[in-house]
Subunit: 459 residues, 3 copies
Amino acid sequence: MTDVSTNMRLKLPVTCLILEIILIILFGALVQYDHGTDAKEWHNASHGDYNNDFYYRYPSFQDVHVMIFIGFGFLMTFLHRYGFSSVGFNFLIAAFALQWATLMQGFFHGMHAGKIHIGVESMINADFCTGAVLISFGAVLGKTSPVQLLIMAMFEVTLFAVNEYIVLSALGAKDAGGSMTIHTFGAYFGLMVTRILYRPNLDKSKHRNCSVYHSDLFAMIGTLYLWMFWPSFNSAVTAHGDDQHRTALNTYYSLAACTLSSYALSSLTAHDGKLDMVHIQNAALAGGVAAGTAGEMMLTPFGSMIVGFLAGIISVLGYKYLSPILEEKLKIQDTCGVHNLHGMPGVLGAIVGAITASFATKEIYGDGLADVFPDVASGDIQASSQGVRQAISLAVTLGIALLGGLIVGFILKLPVFGAPPDTICFEDSIYWEVPGEEAAHHDDQLTTVRTEESEKLNS
Amino acid sequence: MTDVSTNMRLKLPVTCLILEIILIILFGALVQYDHGTDAKEWHNASHGDYNNDFYYRYPSFQDVHVMIFIGFGFLMTFLHRYGFSSVGFNFLIAAFALQWATLMQGFFHGMHAGKIHIGVESMINADFCTGAVLISFGAVLGKTSPVQLLIMAMFEVTLFAVNEYIVLSALGAKDAGGSMTIHTFGAYFGLMVTRILYRPNLDKSKHRNCSVYHSDLFAMIGTLYLWMFWPSFNSAVTAHGDDQHRTALNTYYSLAACTLSSYALSSLTAHDGKLDMVHIQNAALAGGVAAGTAGEMMLTPFGSMIVGFLAGIISVLGYKYLSPILEEKLKIQDTCGVHNLHGMPGVLGAIVGAITASFATKEIYGDGLADVFPDVASGDIQASSQGVRQAISLAVTLGIALLGGLIVGFILKLPVFGAPPDTICFEDSIYWEVPGEEAAHHDDQLTTVRTEESEKLNS
Amino acid sequence: MTDVSTNMRLKLPVTCLILEIILIILFGALVQYDHGTDAKEWHNASHGDYNNDFYYRYPSFQDVHVMIFIGFGFLMTFLHRYGFSSVGFNFLIAAFALQWATLMQGFFHGMHAGKIHIGVESMINADFCTGAVLISFGAVLGKTSPVQLLIMAMFEVTLFAVNEYIVLSALGAKDAGGSMTIHTFGAYFGLMVTRILYRPNLDKSKHRNCSVYHSDLFAMIGTLYLWMFWPSFNSAVTAHGDDQHRTALNTYYSLAACTLSSYALSSLTAHDGKLDMVHIQNAALAGGVAAGTAGEMMLTPFGSMIVGFLAGIISVLGYKYLSPILEEKLKIQDTCGVHNLHGMPGVLGAIVGAITASFATKEIYGDGLADVFPDVASGDIQASSQGVRQAISLAVTLGIALLGGLIVGFILKLPVFGAPPDTICFEDSIYWEVPGEEAAHHDDQLTTVRTEESEKLNS
């Protein structure tokens, strides 16, 4: 696993510059403003400016954007010597992935006369795809170089777009908040990658795989932004009107219920009843993941709360009992426990979505059925068939994620990307200039200065 | 005061799980989507999707949501050993309170044919009610177990809904930003609770009742989010159009003026002219509290600035001179000084609201009078009567808050909730697994590793 | 440079109180609600509430607001002993500047029958003007008293409004995101001020002019909020509809491309390939600055990415090679390197804007041309003339900024404002009550308490 050198001086700049230049060329050749963004197009038609999709979706987009950069970035700062990398590599790979995702997603479902049309909805979708990459980043956190992460992002975005196309377009499943396409996909892809990149001697870096007091507080910034804005995440690309409204509301209650069950289980599973920050930072979010598919459906607040309640329980139990088993028996070193936050709750969300879809009727949805299940509304299929579509989509997602992770894992294992050795994982200083701690002699100096000057100054 | 045991292993899980299960059952029995959230209902009527209340209020909701979870949560992290509890208990009781508030507020003013109808406006109101609970939490910060806080939240939400019903529905007062119903209520309720829970030996924990450098910076995150989003808070449930617009603008200028007077007074009241972080973190927010009632009225920017200016002065003086007296003479141990940030500025806001309402005329408001003072617009009452309504509402709020706090304080005093002993207040480690500080030997180890490996790596 | 006394007890309160009282009086005399904010005015006309400008611009306003208070405030907390001042003085001068800007900007382009009309657009513009002041604050960071900063803000806001009037109204240039009026102006004004305030003995405070691990993480909060919300910043005051939509999209891609080139150059210019937090925190934002003028034009995503890509390269090279030269040769002590983040990228943005404007045609913009270039659309001028207008505006902005900074620098040099001596720059404790670090004896005490009580408690 150990590479010849972790010096990034040529590897990282060359990777970044080549990728960005390729992106710019492809954007120049393929990408155009869409109807709501192009000056000529928008002014050709007659409609009030308030009908521009910007006003329906941009506030949600900004919330999603905060989740991607602050939410994921700071959630991972819990490690005491990996804060720069957590926030900084998150920033780098997200900035790359959202550009690449624009092309890949556009290629599969945004082409108009040979051009990819973009606007606020494609921006949200690009951020969504980026989210899956960041989930996988959580699984390998602390054990990869930035070049490995960029390579992983490139392949994962591509496979994400393929899977998304199969699930949403070919199979006709619904997954607005991405329980399947984002969370299940990102988690199992990342778990397979970290399995292939298994490090037998990782315990030599064990002392750095832990938090300190303030790093846990930084991580709570990430947790809370994810928690607060998850209603926007799940509702960002649902249909206008009641659909966005309902999705946000369902997610809000799912998360609230999840928080209470997470706290309960965290205390219950500790022998001294003390709450564990790992559970609070992560499990309390599982309710958002689990409401990702059914959130736009008529799940009812009651149903949403049950889903969230179960997700919190599953997630804490996963952190407590399943993760150690996965590491020991299956050699899956899952730094952030993405299996517990995104994997199992994502599968739960997919199942809930399949069940809820099976019971969709015209009585419940009225004319709104066409927004949520167009094929059921048009009479092409039965609601139960929609449920089957959802279930098949879960299976397809798991398959593509695991197979993709397998292949990409082996690619990342090539000893040319500057991965850290087992002895220096979870450590910023191999990739970053790290300042010293607040050195004692500075304060001594300062105290002297202060004493000397304080009398004449504060007069 | 000292309980037999602070071990939460059974108490906290049982409390959380029972409360959540009750909530789920009641939601199943009573709660329904409202007109803008229900698929069938929304599609039954004919209106553009841009008319869905979601688009008028959801951005404001998200800002309020950030204030509740990040704003209040981080504002209280100023204590150097209570950051986990500040953010974490804030998170727990807010997640509980918003669900319970949905039911209680719905019961009092959201029932339609036996069902509680919910949507974005009820979500904002639930967050508002939660805000009052978090204000009370500030008064007892560091001295209560999470179980006590959940019990307090349960009773306080209930009484909040009763008071809100009396003030807004029965008395017909206006209080969109909650100077009375949220701030005055939350503050005086909390002050009475902390009075009843008086700890004579709290000075044994005095060395932990203070901040460190970085904890004060974390607290500034909370302060600034509260400050920035207060215009959204006060305008979130006002009428569409000019009302939301005007309320946001009034609050913006009130806060700006308040900031300057807070800085001025903070420096003026220190013998060496140095600014005190306690004042900056708290008093600079008083302008938002004080604009909570009159913000939606034609207060003018000029009036708003005067109100904010006074609120900042009152608040700093309260922290400096009144709080020590309250603690010594009245035995009110107000950890966060909620009397200075929410209590007095809330009362000021109520008075300003009563005065401003008294001068409302058709000349000033035009047809907009019906939005702000429907009973005055319809000719049912005089503007001066509206002023009287406002004043009575303040008295009622104070009465219910103090009486409620008295009763709830005695309930919380029962020695079964696992409160911390006087010697271990303001301390995370009795309820949380707390990691060590960044241990010196880790860095030593690291340095050794680095020295050994650096040459072969950075080649 | 050293003042007689840095004690702020009279200077700061008197300055704050006099300024605020003047503001209140002028607001009382001159300021009125605008059409969308005034109850009577709004209800006089017939239009749906969704047409109120509040709903088009308030979400963007809130994003801009976060950039001003959290973004700028925390970006500057990278210094290890200057966090209170960075966030706290940022807060103070922003709260003052936005009020003063309302008057100055209103005076120059918001007067209606002798009154200044205000609403959400004027609030955004006031925040924009504040942004320029905060950029200048970055240049002098650590070397000025709060009174100096308030005086600087007063003059700079006034000159900003003059320059803005000349550029946007008299010359008819376009600059929605302020590459010229905000970034170029703020940077060169601040650079000239810091040149005049040159401190020959600043190296005596050199040991405090650096970061520690956690201060760099706090700074990343600022960076990411600026980065995420820059699309809102550039689009906040553009025309409704496609213009806002397109500007946000262009800025999004410019920033993403800029991030990749910043990381590449940061690693490339370090001899060991390690990333430098200074570059990541700052240079990655240059893409937002550089898209400030042309963002609303039909720049295309392709063009935006090229601009961002170049801005990142220029900015890192500036930090690495140009800043040391400016300090040594030109005696410009630019604490935050605003020349690299705002100065050069601002000039780049202005040039890109001039070029893009020159190529504007009816073929490309259709009827949307009237939104972006009204004088070109009406046939009054050629597109090439619009390009000349843009270029002249850059020159005017540079001239007013440098001349203004020169004069204001000399005013600030008067030895009455309590500036810190060269030996105590970059230090909170002369203006703030600063708590101690987490003292060892506290934890010792705590450990004793814990050991004593832990057995009886956790039973």
